[in-house]
């Protein structure tokens, strides 16, 4: 039996039937952590089974909780998970972003401490990057970490920290010296440390995962420094590449799970509008081109712009198709699905801002890929 057949047989047996339909809302997603909320007993079982085989982190070495698969076999696993219709067992910034960076830059002790817990979904991570004064100009960040014996004392503020209120640990960019890029370090901070406080931010789409996070004399063991002092910017960029790749893949999978635009248009009585039909065809073509590019592999900034700009156009199109029914905020007169389409549209406006705005990505492509002068 080939790997693909073996995987499929195992998935059909191991994945509970209740998890073989797409999640209807974010409440059904599994993010793990010390304070994990489980949408169902099946969801917990599914994560345990996947983690036991190392399939939550398929390419990581076995000793760190992974399955030690090649990239090719990991792709087969992902394809089969999609084909069988299994929901992701675990969503995790630890899996998508921190893990690959720790494998490359972490000490043996850091890998053994953090990677298996990430793979099993025991610790939930958040990302401490942006600050009120450091958005697109991320390297101007000012949160200070001052060495005091075997600890760093951290003071400052982060913003747009997704799920900081629910996360157990944060991977955080801090300033250990004045020079702009060379003074940045990469620090792992336990959110339970005294002096850490997180506060959620409301967006135009309503409640959001985003938070402000405040650090007041927070003492962080120096062994939680990843890489060298001053190597933070290099590590931060490597992690941003992972983030852009992971987010692009997830976004397109989400589009795959949505009702096709043609059928949505038919249900709202505009299925025979030729102008709308061309917009739908263009959106489908764009989605296809992006999926094929994800499969082929491309620069993460290229993927990030393509995926998020397409997602924004697609959400604009969905809300336009629903007409008056896409104008509701809450309550009577609108189905839950219609309200979700509207909220998704509002939420989508942030996609081309977060994770490095489109304009920043275009700067990166111009410099790094095309070699255009500063």
């Amino acid at each position: 039996m080939g790997f693909r057949e073996e995987i499929r047989a195992w998935l059909l047996e191991a994945c509970p039937p209740s998890l073989r339909v797409p999640a209807r809302s974010e409440a059904e997603e599994v993010w793990g952590g010390r304070r994990a909320t489980w949408p169902s007993a099946d969801a917990r079982l599914w994560l345990e089974r996947m983690a036991a085989r190392g399939y939550t982190a398929p390419t990581w070495p076995r000793e760190y909780g992974g399955a030690g698969l090649s990239d090719e076999d990991a792709r087969v696993l992902e394809e089969e998970v999609r084909a069988v219709g299994c929901r992701p067992a675990l969503r995790s910034l630890g899996l998508w972003m921190l893990g690959p960076v720790l494998l490359r830059y972490g000490t043996e002790e850091q890998k053994r401490e953090h990677l298996p817990r990430i793979a099993r979904g025991e610790i939930r991570w958040c990302q401490g990057y942006s600050e009120p004064g450091a958005g697109s100009d991320l390297a101007s960040l000012a949160t200070r970490a001052v060495r005091d014996g075997d600890v760093y004392v951290v003071n400052g503020q982060k913003i747009w920290t997704s799920h900081a209120d629910l996360a157990d640990w944060m991977f955080c960019l801090v300033r250990t010296a004045p020079p702009k890029h060379e003074g940045i370090s990469f620090l792992l901070i336990d959110m339970a440390s005294p002096g850490v406080r997180a506060r959620p931010i409301r967006l135009i789409s309503g409640a959001s995962p985003f938070c402000e996070t405040f650090f007041d004399e927070v003492r962080v063991p120096a062994r939680n420094l990843v890489g060298r002092e001053g190597q933070g910017w290099e590590i931060a960029k490597a992690l941003l590449g992972e983030e852009r790749r992971a987010m692009s893949r997830l976004r397109e999978q989400r589009t795959d799970d949505e009702e096709p635009l043609e059928s949505l248009a038919a249900r709202y009585g505009v299925g025979d509008d030729p102008l709308l039909a061309d917009r739908i065809a263009a959106a489908n073509l764009e989605h296809l081109a992006i999926k094929l590019t994800l499969r082929r592999g491309a620069d993460p900034s290229v993927l990030k712009v393509a995926v998020t700009e397409a997602a924004k156009r697609r959400r604009e199109l969905r809300v336009a198709i629903t007409g008056f029914q896409g104008l509701g905020w809450e309550g009577e007169g609108f189905s839950p699905e219609e309200l979700a389409i509207t909220r998704d549209w509002l939420r989508s406006r942030a996609l081309t801002i977060e994770g490095g705005s489109t304009e920043i990505q275009l700067n990166i492509i111009a410099r790094r890929v095309l070699g255009l002068p500063e």
Binding site: T293, R295, R296, V302, L362, N363
Partner: protein, 315 residues
């Protein structure tokens, strides 16, 4: 997606010989790539066509290898002559002012009566495969009346009239031929778009105004980066279509249309931006950047424009 050693070597050779006479390309085996007895498939043909596109060469690959020759599986002696580079065959299909799949020509009692236009390589072909409502028909050029069309991009095209010419039936699927043609043309367009874009980026690095390279201006950087993204997406679709043809995949027709739709929009955008970013010299005949714009316009209309192919993608 990775290239084999052979494919990398093929691209090198194809780049070197693009623009050389047909007989020479045939000696390298290029005329038989997708035909019986040939060595290769649509992926290999795509590599050769990308390189043709880069140099704006227009050797008769589309007409003779894909569209005309592709219909002649039942005529091995003719295919052998095509592969040897000894004869050219054109598909006479279009009848109106824009590409359609449907035709009105008749093939009745062994004779073809029809007025065809935009027949690629119609001036040099020895044989015509004519699409009719009654199926495909093979007619020698000596039995046709050929009027050359002088196109903006210099591609060989003609109006071809058949006044009850004696013809033989040919068994082939017209739709499949046109799908393959669309993918092959998309590969040529991808190559041309890549070349004109790369030349533009080079120009942005070297051309100085206000004391600095113009490529340091963000207004131009962002447009160049956007084009790079479009090219990357189009590249994925074109290569996927060529692979699907070689694999005989069920979604090959859909991917062929996706490839032609994307290649059309991308090539037009790359050529138009190239002219604008080159400034005054971009519209001179001497520099030749404008020739990509003309090739883009012609290629856009051939075998169906972007809207034509997008329509085929609707579920």
């Amino acid at each position: 997606m990775t290239w084999t050693e052979e494919q990398i070597a093929l691209r090198r050779t194809a780049r070197e010989v693009a623009g050389r006479p047909w007989a020479e390309l045939a000696r390298l085996g290029f005329a038989g790539l997708t035909l019986p007895g040939g060595d290769g498939g649509f992926v290999e043909l795509g590599i050769v066509l990308e390189e043709q596109g880069r140099k704006l060469a227009a050797a008769p690959f589309l007409s003779t290898v894909v569209l005309g020759g592709g219909a002649l599986r039942g005529r091995p002696e003719l295919v052998a002559r095509i592969v040897a580079g000894e004869t050219l065959v054109a598909l006479a299909h279009d009848e109106g002012p824009r590409h359609r799949r449907e035709v009105s020509a008749r093939f009745d009692g062994g004779r073809v009566a029809s007025d065809k236009t935009m027949v690629l390589d119609g001036n040099t072909a020895e044989w015509f495969v004519v699409s009719t409502v009654d199926g495909l028909a093979l007619v020698p050029a000596s039995a046709a009346s050929v009027t050359p069309l002088s196109l903006i991009d210099g591609r060989d095209a003609a109006r071809v009239r058949f006044d009850g010419a004696a013809a033989e039936p040919v068994a082939a699927d017209l739709g499949a031929l046109l799908d393959r043609g669309a993918a092959a043309l998309a590969a040529e367009m991808l190559g041309a778009a890549s070349e004109v874009f790369e030349r533009t980026v080079e120009y942005l690095k070297t051309r100085r105004q206000f004391g600095v390279p113009i490529g340091s201006f963000q207004a131009l950087k962002h447009r160049a980066a956007q084009l790079h993204i479009e090219l990357e997406l189009t590249r994925s679709v074109v290569w996927a279509a060529l692979h699907a043809l070689d694999d005989g995949a069920a979604d090959a027709p859909m991917l062929c249309s996706a490839a032609k739709a994307r290649a059309t929009d991308t090539f037009i955008a790359a050529a138009a931006e190239a002219v604008q970013m080159h400034g005054g010299i971009g519209v001179t005949e001497e520099l030749g950047i404008g020739r990509y714009l003309m090739r883009a316009r012609v290629a856009a209309e051939l075998l169906g424009d972007a809207a034509f192919h997008r329509r085929r993608l609707l579920r």
